[in-house]
């Protein structure tokens, strides 16, 4: 049994900036047992809906449960794969089209563990975390509630 990892807040307000991603990467340069970083970024698409073009997503969450589920996904990934570290960030509030709402960052000594862990984590997040998205469409105040497939 591995030890449980420190709880970290995953939900952040607004979009995740490329600069934040860069700073996260830079912080790992002192960890010289890492050989592979695998990163996933979810970006808001300008999908065409019957009501108009998506201009952004306004995210909300059942926050305490969402944080708890993110924590369980982290622990499950650490159990399943041989990882050095893992950072998860998900936006709340408005994220305009083209901006990033999900950042999954996994590091390992070797590439396979890092790549497979990211795949696992993203799937679990889509499936299990109580995050809700209001897709803003068109010019007026119209919206459509998003639903993961």
């Amino acid at each position: 049994m591995k030890k449980e990892h420190k709880r970290k807040k995953v939900l952040v307000h607004g979009p995740i900036s490329p600069q934040f991603v860069a700073d996260s990467i830079a912080k790992h340069q002192s960890k010289t047992d890492i050989g592979a970083h695998s990163l996933f970024l979810g970006q808001i698409r300008a999908d065409q809906k019957s009501e108009g073009l998506v201009t952004g997503i306004d995210y909300s969450a059942y926050e305490p449960m969402a944080e708890e589920v993110f924590h369980r996904i982290r622990e499950a990934a650490f159990q399943k794969y041989d990882l050095t570290c893992m950072h998860l960030y998900h936006s709340l509030g408005l994220v305009p089209v083209g901006m990033i709402s999900l950042f999954v960052f996994v590091s390992s000594a070797h590439r396979r563990a890092a790549i497979e862990a990211v795949d696992f984590i993203v799937e679990q997040i889509k499936k299990d975390v109580p995050v809700f998205g209001k897709e803003l469409v068109g010019e007026a105040d119209q919206y459509v509630w998003k639903e993961n497939k």
Partner: protein, 79 residues
């Protein structure tokens, strides 16, 4: 017996409330609670939603404990 109910996303939107408390006359399981909710808000009939008790997804046959925090969760959209 009092329970607190939280609504999220589409459900909060349709009902016009993000939370409310209900006084139950007897203990209920999730399925019975769901039926009470649909009687109260018949326009939710077509909506899929999951129910969490104290931040854990609950099976339909699970009994709702005292002082429970019930959350009604429409389809997830994270990522």
């Amino acid at each position: 017996m009092q329970i607190q109910i939280l609504y999220f996303g589409l459900l909060a939107d349709r009902i016009g409330l993000s939370s409310e408390t209900m006084d139950l006359t007897r203990s209920l399981n999730v399925s019975e609670f769901r039926q009470i909710l649909l009687n109260k808000y018949p326009f939710l009939g077509g909506e899929k939603f999951k129910i969490a008790i104290n931040q854990q997804l609950a099976a339909e046959e699970m009994d709702i404990p005292l002082q429970a925090e019930i959350a009604c969760l429409p389809p997830f959209a994270g990522g």
